[in-house]
Structures are given as structure tokens and as C-alpha cells.
């Protein structure tokens, strides 16, 4: 299956690349969008092959990354529009989705998207109780109660009376 990216049918002039996800689906991407990923840029510089196989990025995640790259490669969009696209892009996404997204940006070396997603993940954790974060992200507490109390005591300044949310 070949899916065109959001910009519709590609003109003959524009070079394009085919990217295959680990699920086997193929995506047609303009070269100008692909080179925004440092890893893809390197691959394209090294070989003439127009088909790139990514063995650790699934369909859903790859489609999101490509939508991001295509938007950022569009010269017709202002920086303001791109910024609001970025905000919209990460808002309302499940933590799980963000996790695969941030892993993909790490593999593909898309620095600005990596920052945007990491910031979104930090926003989710912001001002939350430790218990909430552990529960939500399924983090195993490997401290004994005594050890945990000791850590809280050592950094007592970080645990003052500030209100934290538990929602």
C-alpha cells in the first residue's frame, strides 16, 4: 500500500521517498520533509535507494511523524501556524502514544518534535503527587518505606506546603 502524505499527489519535480514501517505499510514522503529527520537525511545522502525500512516504528507512530515532518517542510505555512500545529499535535494524546512518538523522534533524530513531546510529558507530570505519577505511569516503587522517608528528609526543601494535584 502506498499512501501519499497530506500534501496530496506529488508533482513530478519534487523528489520523494518511500518509508516502510515495521508493520510493512509504505508511506510516500517528499524529500524536503524526510530530510528534517537527521537520520533519514544521512541515509539519503549515503545511498540512492528511495525505499527506507524502519524496523522499530509502527504504522500509527510513523504516520504521525510524517504528518509532522510534512507540515514543517511546507514553506507556505508561517512559523506561528507551525507552532500552533505543534501544540495541537501533542494535545489530548495518551501517554502511551507520546511514549512511542518520543522514541520514534529519538530514532529518527527529529530534535524539535522530541522537545515538544518531552515537554508535553513533563506537563502531564507537573505538580502531581508522587503517588499519582507512580499509578499513572505504572512506576514500580523499589524503595523500602524507610528509604523513601529518608530521601524525602534529605530534600526537605522540595516538599514544602505547596498544593499538588491528585486527579
Amino acid at each position: 500500500m502506498v499512501t501519499t502524505d497530506e500534501k496530496g499527489p506529488l508533482t513530478a519535480k519534487k523528489k520523494s521517498v518511500i518509508i516502510r514501517s515495521c508493520d510493512g505499510d509504505e508511506f510516500l514522503v517528499s524529500e524536503s520533509a524526510a530530510v528534517l529527520s537527521t537520520s533519514l537525511k544521512k541515509i539519503l545522502e549515503e545511498k540512492e535507494d528511495r525505499l527506507i525500512h524502519l524496523s522499530d516504528i509502527d504504522n500509527k507512530t510513523l504516520a504521525m511523524v510524517i504528518a509532522y515532518l510534512s507540515t514543517h517542510a511546507d514553506d507556505g505555512l508561517s512559523d506561528d501556524l507551525k507552532r500552533s500545529f505543534d501544540q495541537e499535535f501533542v494535545s489530548g494524546k495518551e501517554f502511551d502514544v507520546l511514549k512511542y512518538l518520543v522514541l520514534a523522534t529519538d530514532t529518527l533524530q527529529v530534535t524539535c518534535l522530541c522537545y515538544t513531546v518531552a515537554k508535553k510529558m513533563a506537563d502531564i507530570m507537573k505538580n502531581k503527587l508522587v503517588e499519582w505519577v507512580r499509578r499513572e505511569f505504572d512506576i514500580q516503587n523499589d524503595y523500602t518505606p524507610e528509604a523513601e522517608a529518608e530521601i524525602r528528609r534529605l530534600d526537605a526543601w522540595a516538599w514544602d506546603d505547596r498544593q499538588l494535584e491528585d486527579d
Binding site: 511514549k99 518520543v102 518531552a118 515537554k119 508522587v130 505519577v133 512506576i139 516503587n141 526543601w157
Partner: protein
Amino acid sequence: MDMISQLPEGILYHILSFLSTKNAVQTCVLSKLWRHLVSTRPNIQFSLSCFNGNKETFMSVLDKTLQRYHDEKICIQVFHVMMWCDDYELISLLEKLIPIVALNMGVNKFSLYIRGTISAYFDLPSVVFEAQSLKHLNLRGFKLNSIEKIHFKYLRRLSLSEVYISDAAFEKIISSCHLIEDVVLFCCEGLKTIQVMHKHHKYFKGFELWGRHSKGDDVNGISIEIGVPTLETLKIVGCPNWYHQHKYFPCLMSLNLDNMRLSNWSFDFFSCNYLPNLKILTLNYCYGFEEFHLSSVSIKHLNIEGMKKSIKAVIDVPSMVKFDYHGDIPSSIAFTATTFGYQWKSNICLCFYDVHHSSWFLKLNKLLDVVSQSEISLHLFDNGLSDNRQNIEDVLDTTCDGLYKPTVAVEQLKLALSGPSSSYSFSPVINNMFRICRPRNIIQCWCTHKSDRAGKKLAEFL
């Protein structure tokens, strides 16, 4: 492994860097892995405010943290500390802790904002100039007098705020850092003449200079001459002596001048002959001229604020998309561009305080007529100090001297009348407004809580 801890360390450090220092330190309790991350994170950001102003704890935590980074040879990439405290505490911090940070091989952002109790400026330990990997240097409250050798060759951004720096020291930094992109100088002392004329700066994009002088005080200002062809944004505030004759800035996109003395030559300078790529021009509280003719085919966004009432302006900017005007109604303004081929917007913001005659509305009528081709947003506000509005003649004489122009459609009329007294009547103002404009939307907002009653009255009236 849980789903978040599987992420590579680099990403987890990123996530931590977006949390406040307090939040980040709290994550120590999540699990041993998180404690390890927090204690080795490359971003060190502390401000006295996250210790609720407790200086003792702040100093001891900062001291312990930096000592540990030093002992365990942990890389510091970002160092950001903001503090105000007694002079002796600051001096001990500077002597002991700054070398640890500056000599840490990874540091690329160094921001230190300090304020003491007695001294205005503190000598910056010269070791900071030995930080080879430095890319951003942001300082407040320091004295930079003579610099022997600068080791950072890759500095991109220099921001000095309330710093004492000599001309020679500034020149030394700028000429040593060929990759510099942005320079911000905010209310620095010691600078007399700034000259940035180096041709070898290939990436110099932004320059911002805030002088310490106020209008009319032409003696104490800094002289500036800048001739960097790669410059894209330039902002100068309060520097009477800006030498820009015959300078050509092919890349300059945004020019912002505030509290600057301008001449007719300055308005020639804004044209495409010198600034062919200028998109945004902002002139705030500029003085020294009675009339001006602005002509540019590249400007898209023109902002004018705080111009003298007596100004006569001719604006010939055919590509304009947005026109922002704040201040008094100018005595004469004209747009000579024959056609604006597409929709443009004008945002007119006027102070209301001296309105005690209906002639004010005639002037406004004239101004609206000039911008009537645009989508107008009109914002009227008062400072609540004057009760003169009560004396507005009730009816604007629409027949006088043939000056009256037809009513103009206004997309948005925003009224911010603070109405100091309950006896204040809106009807003359509103009636006169409706004689000169047809607003599609009316928004009211209030400057002070005192005006609740007045607000209700206007709401009822409308």
C-alpha cells in the same frame, strides 16, 4: 520495566529539564532510577524563589549540588541561577562555585542573575571566559572590565542585563566570537560607543540595545554604529546617537526603535534602498521630527506608538497587511499607496482623556476615513483621571465646514472607559461615536473595579 522508565536516558533528562526544579527533585522518590536521573541531570536550574526565599537552604543546596557534580565529574550543560542576597554570600558563591561550573567541560548555557545588597556590580571571575563549550552567556549584576583571553569560540548568544562593561571588553567578546547570532544589552553601564562592524560575522542575526537614557537627555546616551549585513532583527531603545547613514541591511526583517531621535534621513533609511527586506517596522515614542514621509514596498506590518499630536505623516506602504497605531490622533495622516490589493487590518488605539470637545470626534472621523479601506479595530480607553467628558457637547455637528466624512464601518469597537464618577454619562460619547462609525462588534472592558456601576450603565445604554 514500566513504560516511562524504558525511555532512553537522554529523553528522560529532557523531560526533567521541562519540570520546575522542585518538581524534578520530587521525582527522586518515584524509584531508584529516577533518583539517579535527578542527581545526574545536566540541567542545573535554581532560583531563590523555589526555596520560598530561604537563602540559607538555597545556598547550602546549591553548594552541595555543585560540589557533588565536581567530585563525581558529572556533566553540566545548562547552568541557570537567579539570586539576590548579601554581598559576602555572593562573593563566596562566585569564588567557590563559578569555577566548578565554568571548568565543567560540557557547559553550554551559563545564566547567572545576581543582585547584592550594597554593591551594584560584582567582578565576574575570569574563569568564565575559559568555558570552551559555552554557547549562551547570560549575566546580570556583574562587572566586566578587562578580559584577557576568551576561550569560547562557539558563543551564539550574549545577553547582558544591568552589567557594567567597558567598550573594550564588549569589543573583545564580539570580535572573538565569530559565530555569534544574538546580542542583547539591557541597561548596561560603562558602554560609551558600540561599534559592531566586523565583516567576519556570518551568522549575526539579532541585536537588541536598551540604553539608560530618557527622552531629551542626549548627553548620557550610548553611541551605536552597527554595520552587520546579516542582521535580521534590530531593536534600539533610548540611544540618541545611532549612526546608520549609508548602512545597508539586505536581510533586516524587523526594526524596532523606541525613544529614539529620528530625522528625515531616518525615514529615507526605512525605504527599500537601505532595507529591502524590512517586513515589520515599529516606531515607539520617537521624536525629533515634525513630519515624515515613509515609503517602502516591503513593509507588511507598521506599528506606531506615542507620536506627537502635531505630526504630519504620509505613508506610502503598498504591501501593508497590518497597521497598528497607539496614541493621540495625529494632526494629519495620509496613505498614498493607490491600492492595497488585498484586505489589510488596522488597529487604532486612542486615549480618551482629553476629549472635551466634539471636534475630537471630527478628528477621529478623519482618521477613520483614511483607514476606511481596511478592517478596522478601534480601541478607546481613558485613564480615569479626568471628568471632562461630561462637558462633551451632546451633538457632533456633522455639517460643519464640510469636514465631516461619511460614517465608516468598524469591525470591532472596544471601549475601556474607567468612569471615575457615577454622574458620568456615556450618551454623548456613544452618540458621537455612532455618528462617525458603524461598529459590527462592541466590546467593553473596564480598567478599574470602581467602574462597575459605570459599566452597568453603559451595558444598559447599549
